[in-house]
């Protein structure tokens, strides 16, 4: 070999060439840009066009936002300071911060109460959302509705206490009888709770002190973003069990129950939420006993709850239908009755499939709570369109206020959907 080389090749390298970096157009950012931004001519044009759109949007909004004023007392003052320059007048947010969050009637000395309820909400939701946490923390979640009710509405503490006692009594009766028969346990529990509440109706009026620890606030004084949060949280948590019940009813083999659920679900899904809110505001009062005054907040909660329950029922039905038939048959062959099969075999799997759908409904529901502004409740949008934009100080500050509302909703809704994606990955137990 070496001989031939001596004659045919002028020079043979004896050492290796040092490793060179890849050419700049085949690696690094240049390669990335060629692949992802300028792959073909049309692609490059598209890139330039979108870059231009982004540039337009940023040049229009950034100076406006960065030059914004935060501490003037009215729009007129803002204009004076800006002297014709185009910049935001964020002072409306600092000036009306409390109104945006709590509405304009909630007593200002009690703002700490809803704030505390909001902080507690995170503690109450944590064990539900992140199930790696110790299960005992769920006690906090179960207590939360009563604490939050007492904090926000105030009044005598005996109302939430007796409401809680009713649930506890119901639970004990249920636990005592459920081993024999699910229906007996369930209806027994409901009856026990009803008895406790009936008795409490008399006891509370006797026990109620003249001046309760937390002064009572009527629900018509609630408003602002607090109202959106309250409606969203209450209605979602109430509508999930109702929706599951409706879905099971729709899958039921008993024609009457199935028929009732189908009619209910299709009716609710067929009409817009706003007509249901009209029902709540002008029509529902006709269906209550003549002497009862059910306040608007409760009526709205009822209507939004049944609205989203119908949608959740359809999502859960999808989950139930997606389960292989073998699961139902396996549960039957193990000798489980209907309640056991549902509780232990079917629902855990069906609900897991339905989680993305349920979260979508929850996000939609939270966005839909803004519709209550149409029936003149002063939620965040109602506050902006009503008292704030109508005031002489801030008449004309559209973009700052609407932008604030948009950002607030975006943060919450985007957060929820990111959580649901995390949960989906976390629950993905199938092997791929």
């Amino acid at each position: 070999m070496s001989d031939t080389h001596e004659h045919s090749v002028a020079f043979v390298r004896t050492t290796d060439i040092e490793q060179q970096p890849a050419p700049s157009n085949a690696a690094g950012p240049v390669k990335w840009m060629r692949d992802n931004l300028f792959a073909t001519w049309p692609n490059a044009l598209l890139t330039v066009a979108s870059a231009y759109v982004i540039y337009l949007i940023l040049t229009a909004t950034l100076p406006w936002i960065l030059g914004g004023l935060w501490n003037t007392s009215s729009l007129a003052e803002c204009r004076e300071v800006l002297q014709g320059k185009s910049a935001a007048c964020f002072s409306v947010l600092t000036d009306r911060w409390n109104q945006l969050l709590f509405g304009f009637k909630y007593p200002s000395e009690f703002y700490w109460r809803p704030t505390l309820a909001l902080v507690l909400m995170f503690f109450a939701l944590a064990p539900v959302l992140f199930f790696d946490l110790p299960r005992k923390l769920l006690i906090m979640t179960l207590l939360y509705p009563f604490v939050a009710y007492w904090l926000i509405w105030g009044g005598t503490i005996w109302v939430p206490v007796f409401a809680l006692l009713g649930f506890i009594a119901g639970y004990f009766v249920y636990a005592r009888f459920v081993a024999q028969n699910f229906a007996l346990g369930f209806f027994g529990g409901v009856a026990a709770a009803a008895v406790v509440w009936y008795v409490a109706g008399f006891v509370v009026s006797m026990l109620a002190p003249e001046s309760p620890l937390l002064a009572s606030v009527p629900s018509r004084d609630l408003g602002g973003f607090m109202l959106n949060m309250m409606l969203g949280l209450t209605c979602v948590s109430l509508s999930i069990p109702l929706g599951i019940a409706l879905a099971l009813g729709r899958q039921s083999s008993m024609p009457l129950i199935k028929w009732m659920c189908v009619v209910f679900i299709e009716f609710i899904r067929g009409v817009p939420l706003i007509t249901l809110l009209f029902v709540a505001s002008v029509m529902l009062a006709y269906f209550f006993p003549p002497d009862a005054t059910v306040d608007l907040f409760l009526r709205v909660v009822i209507m939004i709850t049944i609205f989203s329950a119908a949608y959740i029922a359809e999502v859960v039905r999808g989950g139930l239908a997606a389960l292989p038939k073998g699961q139902y048959e396996a549960a039957d062959s193990l000798g489980l009755d209907y309640a056991q099969a549902m509780r232990l075999i079917i629902l855990p799997q069906a609900l897991k499939i339905s989680i993305p759908g349920i979260v979508n409904i929850a996000v939609g529901l939270f966005k839909d709570t803004t519709l209550v502004s149409v029936i003149s409740m002063f939620d965040l949008v109602g506050m902006i369109r009503g008292p704030i934009l109508a005031s002489t100080d801030w008449n004309g500050v559209y973009w700052e206020l609407l932008g604030f509302a948009a950002v607030l909703f975006f943060v919450v809704c985007y957060g929820i959907s990111q959580y649901s994606q995390w949960l989906e990955r976390r629950l993905a137990t199938d092997h791929r």
Binding site: V53, V279, V374, F409
Partner: protein, 389 residues
């Protein structure tokens, strides 16, 4: 069985209880359930109507005006939302990084902010940013009409209006002319369908596909042009000189309609984009590869292999988005667009005090729309179902 009997008894008891409450409340308020108010004069004006209407017309006619307005904005929004959604959905799968991210931002922003806020934002843009009609008026206006045809004012957009000078109803015009145009369009639609089917047949027999493009173009446009001559089509232009205070002539598309239309389109478009993306991604890669292995060209792979399979996944959620548009159009009440919720459920309800009747009629209308769309969807789903064994 026992459970069913219990349920039946409970249902009957609940209904009876609600009914007795209703009867007692109505008696106490001195009311009764009657739909006679539909015949009486409405007594309010509606600024955007598709059919003739004045304040002397009956409440029933006001409701019909509202229904037509609802259908109008829903129809317009369905078209633009579909276009926008398909575009954004396809672009989200583009291999261009910047475009992909831009579309993701569009989808996330519009999906996560309530539609009510979008409607208000766009309405505010329409009313607070656009110039007043005055800017377009006079011999030497501040602003010219766009192309001499369109004026964008804070009250809405003015566009030229087609009028038929020699058609039915003479110079006044009549709805019959429009029916003729619609009939021509429907006929053209079936004509092109027939031509395409014929081309398919010829291709099946001989392997050569006749060119249908020009024939179809002719089928669409020739009848329209003939009609335009027969009916004496001319255009009624917005005229800056006719009046000192407002633009005259042309069609005024009110700001509420535009705000509602655009907001519904961009909001629902974001949802449709996600459906389209999911549909395209649901077609497995093997299908594309198999088509390529058969030697089908890339463009035809999309139209012959991927899209037909993707459509099966896309169309059911798409139709439910159309339903959502129709239901969300009820938010018109927030910007003062006279849809059925604003006329029947708003002004008529408040003026006559017939809350129960109005809300029931309103619900019945939306139910009929929803149920008929779901019926269409079921027929479609059954025809598209994978035929297995």
């Amino acid at each position: 069985m026992t459970l069913q009997v219990i349920a039946a008894i409970l249902l009957a008891l609940a209904l009876a209880y609600l009914y007795s409450n209703l009867a007692a409340n109505l008696r106490a308020a001195g009311l009764n359930i009657s739909f006679a108010f539909l015949g009486s004069s409405a007594g309010y004006d509606i600024n955007q109507t598709l059919i003739e209407y004045d304040s002397q017309a009956s409440n029933f006619r006001a409701a019909i005006v509202g229904i037509l307005n609802t259908l109008l904005v829903a129809f317009l929004a369905c078209i633009t939302a579909t276009v926008l959604g398909v575009l954004a959905g396809v672009l989200r799968l583009s291999n261009n990084w910047l475009v992909r991210k831009l579309m993701a931002v569009y989808v996330e922003i519009f999906r996560n902010i309530p539609i009510l806020i979008w409607i208000i934002i766009i309405f505010t843009i329409m009313t607070a940013v656009m110039p007043g009609a005055r800017a377009y008026l006079g011999e030497d206006p501040e602003r010219g009409l766009l192309g001499g045809l369109f004026a964008f004012t804070n009250r809405g957009v003015y566009t030229p209006a087609p009028i038929f000078t020699t058609g039915f109803g003479g110079a006044e015009g009549s709805g019959l002319n429009w029916l003729l145009v619609i009939a021509a369009l429907v006929a053209s639609f079936f004509g092109t369908r027939f031509m395409t089917a014929r081309a398919d047949k010829i291709q099946g027999e001989t392997g050569v596909r006749p060119n249908t493009f020009f024939v179809n173009l002719a089928i669409w446009f020739v009848p329209l042009i003939i009609l335009a001559f027969l009916l004496g089509l001319s255009w009624d232009m917005p005229d800056p000189l006719a009046n000192r205070f407002n633009l005259r002539g042309g069609i005024q598309i009110g700001a509420p309609l535009i705000a509602l239309w655009l907001a519904l389109s961009v909001y629902t478009g974001a949802f449709i984009a996600e459906n389209v993306r999911a549909g395209i991604q649901a077609v497995s890669k093997g299908q594309t590869e198999a088509a390529a292995a058969l030697g089908i060209r890339p463009r035809r792979v999309m139209s012959l292999v991927v899209l037909p399979q993707a459509l099966r996944v896309i169309i059911p959620p798409l139709i439910s988005q159309y339903l959502n548009i129709t239901k969300n159009s009820s938010l018109a009440i927030a910007v003062g667009y006279a849809d059925v919720t604003a006329t029947l459920g708003g002004i008529t309800l408040n003026q006559t005090g017939r809350a129960i009747e109005c809300v029931l009629l309103l619900m019945a209308f939306y139910l009929i729309i929803s149920l008929s769309i779901s019926a269409v969807m079921n027929v479609y789903n059954n025809s598209m179902k994978l035929k297995e064994r």
